[in-house]
């Protein structure tokens, strides 16, 4: 089964709530890697499953296996500087923001359909999957870019 939708990994929140271990969503050492349509997201993954895997990864010149570090995802290269802000509402909204992705001089020949933010901790736990849609995307000595609508990767409605 291919993947067809964006989603949040249960481990990304499940690691925080017990306060025994926590994925830091904003670390510069976190990475973003690309996959083909053959990948199957498992958003129910716990910290010990569904980790980063190379099986369906899309790589190439300028986009190494394992993905590009958050600290180098913006033009320059520079960090996309992910951060959380709160909109007081009501409803109260928790926003995960970042600068746009722009990685220059890439050649990614295998059609990519989506990508994942993941942490190197916990054996490589995934945080969130971003589904691009379409019929797959390739670059040739060019820039791979993602623009976030309103500078937001995702938001959480907290009620109120």
């Amino acid at each position: 089964m291919a993947w067809t939708a964006s989603g949040l990994y249960a481990s990304a929140l499940g690691s925080v709530l017990p306060q025994t271990s926590a994925i830091n969503w904003n670390l510069g050492s976190n990475k973003f890697f690309l996959t083909s349509t053959s990948d199957t997201p498992l958003y129910s993954s716990t910290l010990t499953a569904g980790v980063y895997a190379v099986t369906n990864e899309c790589t190439g010149t300028g986009w190494a296996a394992g993905g590009v570090a958050v600290s180098a995802l913006a033009a320059g290269p520079a960090s996309i500087s992910p951060n959380f802000t709160v909109t007081t509402g009501p409803p109260v909204i928790l926003n995960w923001n970042a600068s746009n992705v722009s990685v220059a001089t890439t050649t990614i020949a295998t059609a990519t359909f989506g990508g994942y933010f993941y942490t190197l901790g916990f054996g490589g736990a995934k945080i969130i999957g971003i589904w691009f849609g379409g019929s797959g995307y390739t670059t040739s000595a060019g820039t791979f870019a993602i623009t976030w609508s309103g500078g937001q990767i995702c938001t959480f409605s907290l009620g109120g």
């Binding site: 949040l8 971003i130 691009f132 937001q152």
Partner: protein
Amino acid sequence: MAEVDLDKLRSIGYLSRGRTMSRTRSGREHPESGKPYKVTRDECGNDVTEHGAAGSGLSDRQDVTIHAETLHFGLDQQAGG
């Protein structure tokens, strides 16, 4: 009773390329000396930009820009809770 042109009726609302086909625009980075480029925006709103050397086609470089929509997750109380 006036005659009805069936061919005209059939053409009403007809979109030759559909509502979700890719849209393309092209140009030059500089009107006279710049490299030509062609941007194709697909049905998902993402852009593929092909660049070429002046006068030699559009195969030298290809950029991709994903226009990601914000993902919205709900952690708020549901009705009846």
